[in-house]
């Protein structure tokens, strides 16, 4: 292995892969074999964290950054003049194995630009996974990107080597996708997605009958959407991802704040920086849907296309629905306790357990981990400071915001919200 060359390739192809958000290694419990190397850990392990605070769990690289497509939002688009290179199968396998043995990574996340045809690209990626699994007896995590337009047989083969498969939607409406990536369409994206879903369901059934049946993508599939490159509203995005969770049984939908990588392309909006706050609010809403039992229409209804950037979506929900509060923590059921701003899943569970033993007061709640600063306006318990309920919604919001500010912790990236964000995000109409 030529050291200099590999170093160069790695720097180029890691740099080209960094815009893929997903870096989790969770969901797979693949066991090691007797003489093998590696295993899956269900909760996932993050091995390092880069300066942007994102976790490094997998060796996330592209097979190649050559690409026949010309998608406006992508750094590797054909019309960009960038140094291009390709990993050989052997180089990738050696890199993965050697990083893995030193406990740098949980596994490999292999994506690729499209060379020649989707099928050819997919074949190359499968070859790497196959060599790792069969040649090196490697049982660690593998995440493969399914290339839109690849044939069904190849997707199926990939599923038997990978722990997770993903197809990136990138743009939440087909019209916008067509505009920014003329060579792509929803059919090419959804065909593999549906196929993977069916494969996973069928495999689960099969493994109930035969314990030793080979695993098919045991960690499920995920996807990613770029936020802020196109004029979709938050409501559209959330409706779309809730469909993906329900109909496609996705494990995760990632939101990637749009980074203006191709500033020269006039089809894209000019942003001062990635819309980090909006991205964060979308993730919070995503969490509300997956862990807090919220429906999209509860987070955003027809009258509000966008999330409130100044407060989190649960607090916004509570302020809009003050008639549901205050919640009595000693009587309310779990679902309602989860809807108190300042109470997370863990505190909610603890409240349910602890209230069997005694009436909880605010001291107990605080110790348990409830953020009383926010929660106090929405609960009743044994004893609370008086005159805390009955505020008008807008007064309450101002009060909570003011209290947060007093703490002196400026929310990051707030320069964005100085502008009316809704208009900033919109690209010129075409």
């Amino acid at each position: 292995m030529n050291g200099e060359l590999v170093m160069k390739k790695l720097s180029l192809l890691a740099d080209a892969a960094k815009y893929d958000v997903s870096c989790v290694s969770s969901g797979s419990k693949r066991r090691n074999t007797v003489k093998g190397l590696g295993n899956g850990v269900a909760c996932g392990i993050c091995h390092s964290f880069t300066q942007d605070g994102r976790c490094v769990s997998l060796l996330k690289v592209l097979m190649t950054n050559h690409c026949i497509y010309d998608c406006a939002y992508c750094i590797n688009r054909r019309s960009n003049d960038r140094p291009r290179t390709t990993f050989t199968i052997k180089e990738l396998v050696r890199l993965t194995i050697n990083f893995y043995r030193r406990n740098y990574i949980e596994g490999l996340f292999l994506s690729s630009g499209v060379i020649k045809s989707p099928d050819y690209t997919m074949e190359q990626m499968i070859a790497v996974a196959k060599e790792l699994r069969l040649g090196e007896h490697y049982n660690g995590y593998i995440h493969l990107k399914a290339i839109p337009g690849a044939s069904a047989g190849l997707i199926r083969e990939a599923g038997f080597y990978a722990d997770r498969l993903s197809v990136n939607v990138e743009i939440p409406t087909e019209k916008e996708l067509k505009r920014l990536a003329p060579q792509k369409n929803f059919k090419g994206i959804f065909n593999p997605m549906v196929q993977i879903r069916d494969g996973i369901v069928a495999n689960k059934e099969e493994r109930k009958k035969f314990r030793e049946a080979p695993l098919f993508a045991p960690a499920g599939q995920s996807t990613q959407m770029i936020v802020g490159a196109t004029p979709e509203t938050d409501r559209q995005i959330l409706l779309f991802s809730s469909q993906l969770y329900q109909a496609q049984k996705l494990k995760r939908v990632y939101y990637s704040g749009y980074l203006p990588v191709n500033g020269y392309d006039k089809r894209l909006p000019a942003l001062p920086g990635p819309p980090l706050v909006r991205e964060n609010r979308l993730y919070q809403s995503d969490w509300l849907m997956r862990f807090y039992g919220f429906q999209v229409h509860e987070i955003l209804d027809e009258s509000q296309p966008f999330l409130d950037l100044s407060i989190d979506p649960k607090l916004a929900y509570a302020i809009r629905n003050l008639h549901l509060y205050p919640v009595d923590v000693s009587k309310a059921d779990y679902e309602m306790i989860l809807r108190i701003p300042g109470v997370g899943v863990q505190s909610a569970q603890r409240i349910i357990y602890a209230r069997r033993f005694r009436r909880l007061n605010s001291w107990h709640l605080q110790k348990i981990g409830v953020v009383l600063k926010r929660a106090k306006y929405f609960i009743t318990c044994n004893e609370l400071p008086p005159k805390i309920h009955g505020f008008a919604p807008d007064v309450l919001k101002k009060r909570i915001l003011a209290e947060n500010r007093k703490k002196g912790r400026e929310p990051q990236n707030m320069q964005l919200s100085l502008f009316p964000v809704k208009q900033m995000i919109l690209p010129p109409a075409h």
């Binding site: 964290f49 605070g53 490094v56 060796l59 690289v61 030193r102 990635p274 602890a354």
Partner: protein
């Protein structure tokens, strides 16, 4: 006269003290490890030696009474070595044995809450031993890592590494407590290295014993780490929050930046 029990600073020793308290019908004013003992002129000091049989009985009883999820709670909490953890554990254990419901979820009780929080800290530190251990390959094919966990948690993660790397010899060495676990392809051995061929500050192996490819892969890893970062999203506070600075000196990717 108040009674202060002392023990040898092992979990077995502590459980023996619990056993002895029950047997003698005593309620101790304090339980302390011998090493951290401060003489109290008014107290009667009773040292209890560790007795595996007695400890085993208490432990079995506890595991029967505590529900599945929290079964190891007393052990994890004990590992935190927090000041005064023994009396909290003792009161907790008495409650476990005397009451008929699952005391371990009574988060309104300060002792129970504290023990749960300590156990969580210890588990988190054990998780970090899965995250931030970095092996260096030595000339003889051994993979070595020196690291300094806040609590004595390396024994909690060795099964993880055995499952993961059954085909390579490795040592995970606790630099602070000066002992390590060696896996020789069959079983674990606890060992203390007298002749240290590594830097006792950051666990880096000396150049003479390092495999010739090691520097190359460490460099590759650094290159990867630098290039996967998105500069526009810089957020150093978030980085520190997930990856405490006390581990940075053990991580090759954080060197030479």
């Amino acid at each position: 006269m108040i009674q202060i029990f002392t023990y040898n600073n092992t979990f077995g020793g502590f459980l023996t003290v619990v056993f002895e308290c029950y047997r003698r019908g005593a309620y101790p004013a304090d339980i302390r490890p011998e090493a951290r003992m401060q003489r109290n002129v008014f107290g009667e000091h009773i040292f209890i030696g560790s007795d595996p049989g007695k400890a085993e009985r208490v432990w079995r009883g506890l595991r029967e009474k505590i529900s599945g999820k929290s079964r190891d709670l007393p052990f994890y909490a004990f590992l935190s070595e927090a000041e005064g953890i023994e009396m909290k554990l003792y009161r907790f254990i008495r409650r476990v044995f005397s009451e008929h419901f699952n005391v371990e979820t009574d988060f309104g009780d300060p002792d129970v809450l504290f023990l749960n929080q300590m156990a969580r800290k210890v588990k988190r530190e054990a998780m970090r031993m899965m995250q931030f251990v970095r092996f260096q390959r030595a000339k003889d094919g051994l993979y070595f890592c020196g690291i300094e966990p806040q609590y004595d948690v390396i024994p909690l993660v060795i099964n993880h590494y055995k499952k993961r790397f059954p085909g390579q010899k490795w040592i995970i060495y606790d630099l602070k407590r000066d002992y390590g676990i060696f896996y020789n392809l069959k079983e674990f051995q606890e060992l203390t290295i007298a002749k240290k061929e590594f830097d006792t500050l950051n666990g880096a192996l000396k150049d003479e014993v390092l495999n010739e490819e090691e520097a190359f892969y460490q460099n590759l890893w650094r290159v990867y780490f630098r290039n996967i970062n998105i500069k526009e999203r810089k957020n150093l506070r978030l980085q520190r929050q997930h990856m405490p600075q006390r581990f940075w000196r053990f991580l090759p990717e954080m060197q030479g930046q």
